[in-house]
């Protein structure tokens, strides 16, 4: 009895019809379709500004809605400086927390601290904003910024007169906001380091710190780098909290104690009052730049973190 056995054939052609599969697959395409639409719609909104300014947009410091002259340099500067400083501040704490959380023992305390750090991510950004503006900013001005500018004012980055809203406080608020991203992912990568490596190191007589510093952290290096880049993506795109504390001034201050601007805060602040064609389009252009940069940063970070978890599984 020669009966054909179609089940051995692979591929869609041999699959029995499955309406459920078709329907769910079509529905699940919503996410990629929306993503593509975001890029296309924002890109087309930016077209007038792209045509008018071209690449000169990135090197111009002008921001003159009356004469229709716009440039992104101050905002790019502010975004890069605040994000960089935020990472510098958050990295040691984030990795310290991750090492602490990845250790064995005392599960209650570890769970409590882990929950505490995760809750940082749950607090709405506008709450960080109002807290930064009314609590942190006055305190920072009296206890940090003013003393810095009077004693170390000759150093350009601490030159005064110090103001309440400035690059420094924006960086500090951002550092707090990226901390949960940094520590949660770093903890996972550190946990994923094979315990055999740790045990081998301890068996050779290494102390806990020598094991952590010379064996565990180097093994988790790429993943921690990925976590850092993911945190960078969060910091670059953070809008409301930064808008409330950075001072919103179209300027490129060398001093950290002076107000500045970021890409996201310029959009948040000015978009609803932007009139004409070129003004709103320039703001959308800022948004497009911000979005493409964060997209690139996120994809790199995801690939790094994924490659780590895949290695760990093997």
């Amino acid at each position: 009895m020669a009966v054909a056995r179609p089940a051995l054939r692979s591929g869609a052609a041999s699959r029995p019809p499955d309406g459920f599969r078709t329907v769910t697959t079509v529905v699940s395409l919503a996410a990629p379709v929306v993503l593509v639409a975001i890029v296309l719609v924002v890109g087309s909104g930016a077209l007038p500004a792209i045509r008018h300014f071209g690449l000169g947009f990135f090197t111009s410091r002008a921001w003159d809605p009356v004469r229709d002259k716009f440039g992104a340099l101050p905002m790019i500067y502010g975004t890069v400086v605040t994000s960089f400083l935020a990472l510098v501040m958050a990295l040691p704490v984030g990795i310290g927390v991750a090492i602490f959380l990845a250790q064995q023992g005392a599960p209650r305390i570890r769970a409590a601290i882990g929950t505490g750090v995760e809750l940082l991510a749950a607090i709405p950004s506008v709450v960080y904003g109002i807290w930064g503006l009314y609590v942190l900013a006055p305190w920072l001005l009296i206890h940090v910024s003013r003393p810095l500018s009077t004693r170390l004012g000759s150093i350009p980055i601490f030159a005064g007169p110090a103001l309440q809203t400035n690059l420094l406080i924006a960086s500090i608020v951002l550092a707090v906001m990226v901390l949960p991203t940094l520590s949660a992912i770093s903890r996972d990568v550190i946990r994923a380091v094979p315990s055999g490596m740790r045990e081998a190191s301890v068996a050779l007589g290494a102390t806990w710190w020598e094991t952590t510093w010379k064996v565990v952290l180097p093994a988790a290096r790429a993943g921690i780098f990925g976590a850092t880049i993911l945190a960078l993506g969060r910091a670059l795109g953070e809008t409301i909290a930064v808008t409330m504390v950075i001072g919103n001034r179209h300027d490129i201050p060398t001093s950290l104690l002076l107000p500045a601007y970021t890409l996201a805060s310029a959009i948040a602040n000015e978009f609803s009052e932007a009139t004409g064609t070129l003004y709103p389009s320039s703001l959308i252009f800022l948004g497009l730049v911000l979005m493409l940069v964060t997209l690139a940063v996120n994809v790199i970070a995801l690939l790094l973190v994924r490659s780590i978890s895949r290695e760990a599984r093997v």
């Binding site: 909104g45 609590v135 806990w208 952590t212 993506g233």
Partner: protein
Amino acid sequence: MTRNWRRQLSNQVARLLVYLMAAIALVPLSLVLIYTVVSGLPALTHLEFFTNVERPVGIPGAGVAHAFVGTIVMVGLASLMSIPLGIISGIQLVEYGTGRVGDAVRLACDVMVGIPSIAIGLFIYALLVAPLHHFSGLSGAVALAVLMLPVVVRTTESAVALVPGALREAGLAVGLPRWRVALQLVLPAAVPGVVTGALLAVARAAGETAPLLFTAFGNRFMIFDPTKAMPALPLIVFHDALTPYPDLVRTAWGAALVLIILTLLVNVASRVALRRQISLAAKL
């Protein structure tokens, strides 16, 4: 001997530093919580805060009832749009998501979570607000739905994936079609995890300001019609905090406290639901 002593010392110093970092990490959380409670309580102790709408500066009895309504309407509409879509996409990822489509959906979701929320506001502005020439609660809801979708998809996927394969096989073995296995056997077993994901997405949406700035825009009046500009709690915090009037700033702190209470409640609830999911999965 001295070398060992030095190694022990640096070990202890490093251990201390790690503990110190863990302690430092809790400082900002406690400071934000303490100051928001202290500054927000005075506004919350007046019942008018929950029943009245905004008043002009200087007139007592201002409230944020309109913002409660706005947030509930917009987050509700956003949930109606994003949660069913997200749950079906999550099921698809587990049941059939091994191919190229599944990879594309996963990558799109992971990338979408990282898109700055202000860019989503711009997207919806260009898509829905500019062509219709007016701000609306509906466009705000769509912006929030775009934010929620990837969160719901990925959490549903991980919750459904936790359901043991034996349950699925048992259903298929008694001859149930795939859709009944997925919707009537697997999904009910994954409910706590799915609810967790939906709750987290709702909490995230309720606290977002940036995507609402030029979609819902805000409003000083009680509005139930989502085709008009609508107020929201985060918008009140943002606008009122930046004014020089102590009354408005107090209202802003009150609204901020309400937002924090909401998000913390949802987070605690989602943790409970997640724990139940894990124990349920262990039982099955």
